[in-house]
Amino acid sequence: MNQVWNIFRKDVRHHWIEITASLALVAAFAWVEIGEWSHPNMASGGAAILYGILGALAVPLTPVSWMFLIVRVVHGESLAGDRQFWVTRPYDWMKLLAAKVLFVMVFINVPLFFAQTFLLAKAGFDPMSYLPGLLWLQVMWTLLLLLPTAALAAVTRSIGQMLLALLFVALFAIGLSILSTVIPNSDFAAPVAAVYFPLVLLTTIAVILLQYCLRRTSQSRWLLAGLAALFAVVMVATPYRTLIAREYPAARADFPLQLSLMPPPKETHYELRNRIPFTVTFSLSGLPKDSFVELNGMILKLTNSTGQHWDSGWQSRGTMLFPDQKLVGTNVEINQDALDKLKTSPVSGDLFLAFTVYHDTKQRPFVVPQGEFRLPDLGFCSTTAGSFSSLSCRIPLRRPKFLMVSSEMAASTCPLSKDQIPPSPGQIARGFIRNDSSAPADAALSSVEVEGVSLVDSSNDRTSGMCPGTPVTLSNPEDAVHASVEMHIDSAWWAAYLQSLNKPKPQ
């Protein structure tokens, strides 16, 4: 313990400037967060500019300052190289590692924990009720930022080398994102993320232990390079179609939504050669009043009479379809070269649509109060000013899984502006907050999230305001069924569609 304390004290003495800067940034971040809640409606003026600048600086700089602090403290007893004085001194590697962990906990984890606890308390929430979420945030920041930074610092010996390593990581991330755009279906199915996380965790821990225990820098670097290669392999080798087919099996006969294909448009314009828009419109029916569906993704498969075929690969969508909607349109781009080859003989196609059916449960009426109010299961909310007034809410730690706010547009108490047409009776506008993660806290620096809810009629994109006195319905939709629906597009429809295509406009 003496050795741990000795190293820790030395690191504090050496890095007091970095420590002070990091703590100041955490304090600035908390101050800016609180300021933004205190003046939610500020649109301009000195305070708005000040908070804007400080917020823009403090939020990204705080994690950067942590990374810098970790790099400096790890490099204090550099693990790479063979000239550092400490390697011939009686350091116990476990005590050295313990001293570094203690340093990170005292100057990063603890200040972050206090800042997040303070933010919760200032936002009006009891921090003790959110202890698991607060601890989860600590774990998340440690696993996603602190450990990988420490692993990179452990295989480098200077800030220059560390920056080079970060440049490699950035280039690799860019490369992966480019790769994902050329791998069919990877845009829609993302279960690989569940594989990446344990891979990163295990590799970074292995690198840190290997370096502190044995100082095998080249092996550790190879381990990190192997992780990068594994990322690419996982991305390429994941059986996306199998995963999608498993998540969205073919719809059964009792699927609550009936879709009918509408005729193709009279004219289809497009700007870029090789990217021909394929737009389809469906009429909707059969959806029960207490349900709605989300179109999650689609794939278009084309075949001509000679057996040539092409498909678009699964592409993600996020269109909500409600019982009061009669029509919905969606589109996918077709490769012109493929289309030119296919259309030499009659073309037919199949469109597969992946849906999630939601039951709109726990519906309860609510009248928007004046000023700030507490919305159960969400947080503290208030309305913003103006005729398209929306809700702005402070939410502790995590957004709810799914909160739907719906309102008859004609019932809005917001004054209409001169050029606004009064809504028709029965027109419904909806807004929602949703969260795909089931973690006890969302991945954020702040423990308090500020989320807005605006009401929109998705059939015509018209916005509706929520002013004090506006009656709304709150509900918590739950996903009931995942299914895919196949729509056959016959050759006559295709012939009409191909006729509708105009040549691209000259650039």
Binding site: Q3, H14, D82, R83, F85, T88, R89
Partner: protein
């Protein structure tokens, strides 16, 4: 006498370079053992393997009875290491370096620490990064002596230092020689000769010889033969004669296994009776220069 350091067929390869080619060495306890050789001979590599900074490709080494690959943690409490290449924490003051290291060594001697600061004339409040090279070496040595190490390993400690500082370092070392084994690598032969008890010569990763300094000095002689007329110098001379040369009536050579009677007999057998024979003792520097030139040192 047991060994403080023992290596057996130590090999280290850096890609295509063979830095050490089967080094077998035995450093007796209590010795002041000098590992000498030209630049690139493998001295630093050997020391880094002993200190577990590098891993050997093959062979084994023991330091104070511990396999060198396990020399870490508590094993280092009895070993002091100073190297010309060592990166000291430049932000620390001399005083803070010593205070910091104090916590790592149960045998740290605060009185000796104060004595060393005084002896080496170290400025306690000056940052290591602001010290001259000589002062930094003295600070490093002070920090490696204050805990009474059983073994002191020094890698080229005198390189680039002025004579005064060298002298101070050597005195500081010799003051500890009674309680420690000192293993020092250097190509500064003049200094080594003044304090080493043993010497080993490493060249191109191979040990040419290793022996006590007195025996080395005893067995090397510069021989000068003066004749009345220029003698005929045969092609073949005894194996222990190095750098045989003649200039008019004078023949010179170095005998690397000098024995007065045998050398005289060899001279008589080859040259007959010279008018004058002189046997001059050689400095360590002259011995190594002769060996480096002839490549016959191990003869």
């Amino acid at each position: 006498m047991t060994s403080a350091i023992q290596t057996d067929s130590l090999v280290k390869k850096f890609r295509r370079v063979d830095a050490l080619q089967g080094l077998t060495l035995n450093v007796p306890q209590g010795a002041v053992y000098a590992l000498v050789g030209p630049n690139g001979a493998g001295k630093t590599t050997a020391i880094k393997i002993l200190m577990n900074i590098l891993r050997a490709t093959s062979g084994r080494a023991e330091v104070l009875g511990v396999d060198s690959s396990h020399v870490k943690g508590r094993n280092l409490e009895s070993i002091g290491y100073v190297s010309e290449n060592q990166e000291l924490p430049g932000w620390m003051t001399v005083q803070y370096l010593l205070a910091y290291l104090r916590g790592f060594y149960p045998s740290w001697d605060a009185n000796l620490e104060a004595e060393l600061i005084k002896q080496f004339d170290l400025p306690p409040d000056r940052k290591l990064g602001h010290l001259s090279r000589g002062m930094r070496m003295k600070a490093a040595l002070a920090s490696s002596l204050a805990y009474h190490p059983k073994l002191i390993v020094l890698d080229e400690p005198f390189t680039g230092l002025d004579p005064l500082v060298r002298d101070e370092l050597i005195h500081g070392l010799l003051d500890r020689a009674e309680e420690s084994t000192i293993f020092v690598s250097s190509h500064d032969l003049g200094e080594i000769e003044t304090f080493a008890s043993h010497v080993a010569y490493l060249e191109e990763g191979k040990l040419r010889f290793a022996e006590e300094l007195t025996s080395l000095i005893d067995r090397f002689r510069e021989v000068e033969l003066t004749f009345d007329a220029p003698p005929a110098v045969p092609q073949q001379t005894p194996e222990n004669w190095m750098q045989v040369s003649s200039s008019s009536a004078v023949v010179r050579f170095i005998d690397c296994r000098f024995d007065a009677e045998r050398t005289a007999a060899d001279i008589q057998k080859i040259f007959g009776e010279p008018r004058n024979v002189t046997f001059s003792p050689m400095s360590l520097r002259s011995i190594f220069l002769a060996m480096a030139k002839s490549g016959r040192g191990s003869a």
